[in-house]
């Protein structure tokens, strides 16, 4: 009994998530339909990638508010590259998307990382600058217009689905979901099971101690920023693929949802603790609330109020638990 209580306290997010699902399951006819559950997982994908990258940076005690802009830049970049290959195959389109994400992500992440480690600019300011610059570049290269005219193969990764059947002519399982699960799982293992991951935690809990014990903390911070931006860029190219269209205004404000998800999942903004897997519960909570409230046709204004309140409650609860422990 005591054990159960302890587990419940530790895993309040999971309990809360299940409660939410049951709540929406009871109040709507459609929440638990295969189609809606599959939609839900595809709606989580972008935020899941953003939150995964942010988990690394936040564990280091930093922050990255440029993820939304980096995502938009990578999205329009991939669409522009895609336009050069009108006869692309599906395989080719995946190459284009992943290459664009790696390219833009590495540049932006490297810039963030160098500013933080070499020039000692605080992450908030560095990434604020990157946020503005990346958005500006996005508008410059597109001239403010959507990048359109891409072949349908381009949207395989973002909008395609596996398992077509008679009742589901377009397929059941979103490819974007499978892709995201694989990437997130790899990123979770990298953080939880490798030496690099332990260096991230060590640097985040106490930089000086980590440095004295022989960890190249600057390198860890730089690599984490690159990973974070690559994740954001992956999210962005998936949006472009999903919409078959590069939108310069895409992903505006997504950094806030990603940060909220990470915090909801128990990652402390003070650094030193957190996990990618737990951040996914935060991602799921926000997605379920949005989806459920859409199904109930509750106004988006109220959705904002509810999500804000839940974040606040989750953090207060989390802090009270840590004090006791």
């Amino acid at each position: 009994m005591e054990k159960l209580k302890a587990w419940l306290k530790k895993n309040m997010v999971i309990v809360f998530l299940i409660g939410l699902c049951i709540g929406f399951g009871v109040t709507t006819d459609t929440f638990f339909t295969t189609k809606n559950v599959m939609n839900l997982t595809s709606q989580m994908a972008i935020n899941a990638l953003l939150a995964t990258g942010l988990t690394y940076v936040i564990i280091l005690g930093g922050i990255d508010i440029s993820v939304g802009s980096v995502a938009a830049l990578a999205g329009v970049f991939s669409a522009m590259v895609g336009l050069m290959f009108p006869e692309m195959s599906v395989f080719m389109s995946i190459l284009i998307l992943v290459f664009s994400a790696l390219f833009i992500g590495t540049i932006c992440g490297f810039f963030n990382g160098i500013m933080v480690t070499k020039f000692n600019v605080v992450p908030m300011i560095t990434t604020l600058a990157t946020m503005t610059i990346a958005r500006g570049v996005t508008y410059i290269i597109t001239g403010g217009t959507a990048v359109f005219g891409l072949p349908s193969q381009f949207s395989w990764l973002g909008a395609g689905r596996f398992l077509t059947s008679e009742s589901h002519p377009n397929g059941i399982i979103p490819i974007i979901t499978i892709f995201t699960v694989i990437v997130v799982a790899l990123m979770h293992i990298l953080l939880a099971k490798t030496v690099f991951g332990r260096h991230v935690y060590a640097t985040g809990s106490n930089m000086q101690v980590a440095h004295l014990s022989g960890i190249n903390t600057s390198k860890v911070i730089l690599q984490s920023h690159i990973l974070c931006s690559i994740m954001a860029a992956l999210g962005g190219v998936l949006v472009a693929s999903k919409l078959q269209n590069g939108q310069p205004g895409a992903c505006e404000g997504y950094e806030m949802y990603a940060i909220a998800s990470t915090v909801l999942g128990g990652t402390s903004l003070a650094g030193g603790s957190g996990s990618v897997a737990r951040a996914m519960f935060g991602v799921a909570i926000i997605a379920v609330i949005n989806n459920g409230m859409n199904l109930l046709t509750i106004s988006s204004y109220w959705q904002k109020v509810v999500i804000g309140s839940i974040i606040l409650l989750a953090v207060i609860f989390d802090m009270s638990q840590k004090k006791k422990a």
């Binding site: 459609t30 939609n39 909008a159 377009n170 269209n245």
Partner: protein, 322 residues
């Protein structure tokens, strides 16, 4: 010292911006130089809503064309859809001594004091795209009749839907233009004798990905049984298109704006099955008309009409290629 530096910085930025803005040969410096030579040339200041929207970029093109045609110097600034930025631009234009100012008055409440101040300095103020009902200093307004555009969207909705079917709207609750489109659309759809069931798909906040999510959730909630969706802006239509294709639904889309991607989608063999109609504005014409009216006012002291409404029009497969 700090204050001085920040003022200096702002000044350079404003200069830099306006220099970037006007691609035509007459730049700030040259204008000062040839003021003596061609004293007749008038300088008109324009503040577009935001350079981040194709719509305003096209208005800007219309203004630039008019400036060549009518022979005035245009200073075009980006209001960033922020009344504070817009007000600062108005004050700066007054300080620069322009002959008239036209702005896209997206937030009438916030920009009214600056507009009235300019009027007191005897610089006539005009509005385009959005106007202010709060003040009476506006000499002339040129804009799209968005309520009428919404009505056209409503007509198309009624045309495409069969009796008793469900039709939806993806709206954007903040800009007045989008609220007007919704008003016009609801008016026509409600009045139709087809007995259509209206659902509110939600506020897409200008984000195509958000529109995609709203649309897929609405399709789930109604078992794909949505016959027509009216999107108050093209990003919403883009998102809806992705959602409809993923859900395997057969919903028809009516977009609004007339952006290039809308025309491409309507003409596309695959996307054109869903995105069948578009309500288009005429931003180039807005730019032309506002310039014309400003020049008329400066010459004659009055304009022919205080409110010039540019009619939106319907684009379908037949006229999308034009």
């Amino acid at each position: 010292m700090k204050k001085f530096l920040s003022v200096l910085l702002c000044a350079t930025m404003v200069l830099g911006l306006s220099a970037c803005g006007s691609s035509k040969p007459a730049t700030e410096g040259e204008a000062d130089a040839d003021n003596g030579a061609a004293e007749e040339q008038l300088t008109l200041g324009f503040i577009v809503g935001s350079r981040e929207h194709v719509f305003y970029n096209l208005i800007e093109d219309g203004i630039k064309n008019a400036s060549e045609e009518l022979g005035f110097k245009a200073i075009i600034l980006d209001g960033e859809l922020d009344s504070n930025v817009t007000s600062d631009h108005i004050n700066n234009l007054v300080a620069q001594g322009v002959d008239a100012i036209a702005l896209s008055c997206n937030d009438p409440g916030g920009t009214t004091p600056a507009m009235e101040a300019a009027d007191k300095e005897n610089i006539p103020v005009f509005t385009f795209d959005c106007t202010s009902e709060v003040t009476d200093v506006v000499k002339c307004f040129v804009g799209t009749d968005n309520v009428e555009g919404g009505r056209l969207g409503g007509q198309e909705t009624v045309r495409l839907a069969e009796a008793g079917q469900t039709v939806g709207i993806i709206n954007f609750d903040e800009p007045q233009s989008c609220i007007d489109r919704r008003t016009g659309w609801e008016e026509v759809v409600n009045a139709s004798d087809k007995g259509l069931d209206i659902i509110d798909i939600g506020n897409y906040e200008g984000d195509a990905a958000k529109a995609e999510q709203l649309m897929s959730d609405a399709l789930s909630a109604h078992n794909n049984d949505i016959s027509v969706v009216f999107a108050v802006g093209d990003p919403a239509a883009t998102g809806a298109l992705a959602a409809i294709k993923a859900a395997g639904a057969n919903t028809k889309i009516i977009g609004f704006d007339g952006n290039p991607e809308a025309k491409a989608a309507i003409l596309d063999a695959e996307n054109g099955k869903y995105w069948v109609s578009e309500i288009s504005q005429n931003p180039m014409e807005i730019g032309k008309q506002i310039s014309q009216n400003m020049m008329d006012y400066l010459k004659n002291g009055s304009v022919a009409e205080e409110k010039v409404m540019i009619a939106p029009y319907i684009i379908t497969e037949e006229n999308a290629a034009q």
